[in-house]
Symmetry: C2
Subunit: 442 residues, 2 copies
């Protein structure tokens, strides 16, 4: 949607809201629909080509309003999570539609998804061990629980461990910054020998530092065999898996118990919207379920409806699936794929510019929209370069450490980025690099 | 703002966004401001009378845009939490402005605020006990930790205990559904004698079931004396404390370590916006702080800036303080007070209608906008009445249990509610009650 259409549609939307407020006394207070009313009213997957804005807005009055905030908010979310799961070709076990045991939920952030998965895994292992040995207290078990992630995992994983009150150990990644079977196996053996209880592994697809990928095909089977919950965090990279040429990066997700990525990062859905799927809904709800009278309802135990409050930390919920519905229909799957591809192409364009300049080096494989690069030379000179770049305030780079190297990260992430921006940014970086190198010699 | 002004202003806002998008290349990428830039640019408390919409929108371009999303998002939040704290006459120790140790943060929900407070308290007591006895493991301490709330507290408190992996015990409330000193003291003595470690108390101001108030003036000093963290949850009732005639309900908050209420419940700020204050910021940040390279920044240890990511469960944040800024200025403190007063007056109007009908009884003191009532008689007849009310779909009531009584709850909560709605609802309830009583006799 260009800005001139945005002006028109935005104003129509303002009128829609105003009309709604003016006519609210004429609407029904309580919806007149049965559980499951929504799914038959909409297609069972996202459109390949864009829908028109007219079609979408008409569906609001036709499909959402009769179901009001509740149950429409819940039911649209369940269906949108199925749409998105299918776009990624997630294994069917993660979808709701087949009346299976899995399903998706929108969390606020990947941090919350990791925490919720860890808490579910914690409850599950405690129940399992107490079933076998009823004399074991929760605290006695928790003291021995140990979770794992790669040493490249996001800090939110360590934080989930802190909050959950369990040990979290970092598995040394390999030369490509990936977690591999051997290192994980070694840690498991060492920790089991020490009397600890491994119960939870977070594998990252697309690390924050350098967009590296843990080896799911190696790590997954170990988790299944050793009865550890496998959570796959693809916060950034997940959006790319809607393109067939990147889908192989998700191979091995079939071994996972839970999977998460953030459509708000790279799929044009406004912040916040973090998509999480589990293979067994009851694992989540078992960890959180409490039912006071004021939250009971007549479909409580019917199995017909989803109570998302049992799937998350907060109780209240926003109607975030509307954002997904609009975006998926306004762009169509093909439009979203084109958007991802353009970003990946631009990052490779930047990569080739860096490679053409012998003063610079690329520090990690460029797979998606992130390029890790640096001046050949000391950390000090790279810190000086970053300082100049960010002080000039024309572009903004966030650094990382890869092993002992201080590395600059060039991330393609704006909705409106074009080749010209990349070229201009590179010219700018080269100029500042020349200044830094000159200053160093003086 | 009436709907005709909303149409005009909403459309201006659509144009503002479109202009922003069209002109974005001309704007600076990285803000050119120093930490603390924002506070001197705006008044140090909310206006008593409404500001004009023009003034507010002009301030967006003048005050927010130069600070872009960051640091404006953080700095406006800190100042808005001070504004709101002053509206409530919170003790100065909870405010940021005096460069003290306290401060406010916007959470998503009261559930998260309770959890964050519990986690901070847990970390604090573990550190304290380990400092005295370094041989104690975290698990050995956690096994003995015990938290308390009234038996009327919201289910999210029990959930925070589950997530935090600590015991939570319910203190029997008194005849007014309030937690009192004697019952708390009794539990403490019993639990200490059993070797447990009391560390955390949640006091509720305005319970979900019947809007009862725990006795803070009794409970607070006990918490301070016994070195237990006191968290005060006023999720619903907190908004009323901006009126001087209701402020006494908050007396005793000076004993608390943390305080929370939801402006999204009753202060006209859209969901979600849950306001939380602490007396010592470092208690929160100490529980969560992790600093990987990609999250470091040049003001890291300056003490000049607030890193809200250390105050909450998620990492990412939305710009929720803008909603507060707009609402506080559009209504002014007097407008917000008038809104609260109108609701309280309407609930008393409903209460007096109930009292005039000898078939009905009032089940708890009506203090704010909630009226708990029932037909004199069995739970069965009241369940039948509720069923008829909610099936008719003209109004919607959520019930509760008060001790062994099934009770109906009439909540005044719509922005546009008038006396006519209350009268109509009561006529409707009376008709259905007559039907129920007739059916019972047959």
């Amino acid at each position: 949607m260009n800005t001139s259409e945005f002006r028109r549609r935005g104003k129509e939307m303002v009128d829609y809201v105003a009309n709604y407020m003016e006519g609210i006394e004429g609407r029904q207070v309580y919806p007149d629909v049965e559980p499951g009313y929504l799914r038959p009213l909409i297609p069972d997957s996202a459109p390949q080509e864009p829908d028109t804005f007219e079609d979408i807005i008409n569906d609001i009055e036709k499909i959402i309003m009769p179901g009001a905030a509740s149950p429409a908010c819940t039911e649209l979310e369940t269906v949108m999570m199925d749409w998105l799961g299918k776009m990624l070709e997630l294994p069917k076990a993660f979808l709701t539609e087949k009346a299976g045991e899995g399903g998706g939920v929108i969390q606020g952030s990947a941090s919350e998804a990791t925490l919720v998965a860890l808490l579910a895994a914690r409850t599950k292992v405690i129940h399992r061990l107490q079933a076998a040995s009823p004399e074991l207290t929760q605290a006695a078990i928790m003291e021995k629980l140990v979770a794992y992630s790669s040493d490249q995992a996001h800090s939110s994983v360590e934080r989930a461990g802190l909050i959950g009150g369990v040990k979290l150990k970092a598995i040394p990644s390999d030369g490509n910054f990936a977690m591999r079977a051997s290192a994980l196996q070694e840690a498991l053996e060492r920790d089991r020998a020490a009397g600890l209880i491994p119960f939870f592994v977070v594998a990252t697809l697309g690390t924050t530092t350098c967009c590296s990928f843990d080896n799911l095909l190696e790590v997954g089977p170990i988790c299944n065999k050793e009865d550890m919950w496998l959570h796959v965090d693809a916060a950034y990279a997940g959006s790319a898996f809607i393109c067939p040429e990147f889908r192989h990066l998700l191979n091995g997700v079939e071994f996972a118990d839970s999977f998460n990525f953030n459509p708000h990062k790279w799929l044009l859905v406004n912040f916040d919207c973090s998509a999480m799927w589990v293979k067994k809904r009851s694992d989540l709800t078992g960890a959180f379920r409490l039912d006071p009278t004021y939250l009971k309802h007549s479909h409580q135990d019917s199995g017909l409806i989803t109570d998302y409050r049992h799937w998350q930390i907060p109780l209240g919920r926003r109607f975030r699936s509307l954002k997904m519905w609009f975006v998926f229909r306004m762009y169509g799957v093909k439009g979203l794929q084109a958007y991802i591809r353009k970003h990946v192409q631009l990052s490779h364009e930047f990569e080739s510019l860096v490679l053409q300049d012998p003063r610079f080096e690329i520090c990690a494989k460029v797979t998606l929209g992130l390029v890790c690069f640096r001046l050949k030379g000391s950390n000090k000179v790279n810190e000086a370069l970053l300082q100049r770049i960010n002080s000039a305030r024309k572009i903004h780079l966030v650094p990382c450490h890869l092993r002992d190297k201080f590395v600059l990260r060039f991330a393609i992430c704006s909705r409106t980025v074009e080749s010209a921006h990349v070229q201009r940014a590179w010219e700018h970086i080269k100029e500042l690099a020349a200044d830094v190198l000159r200053a160093e010699k003086e």
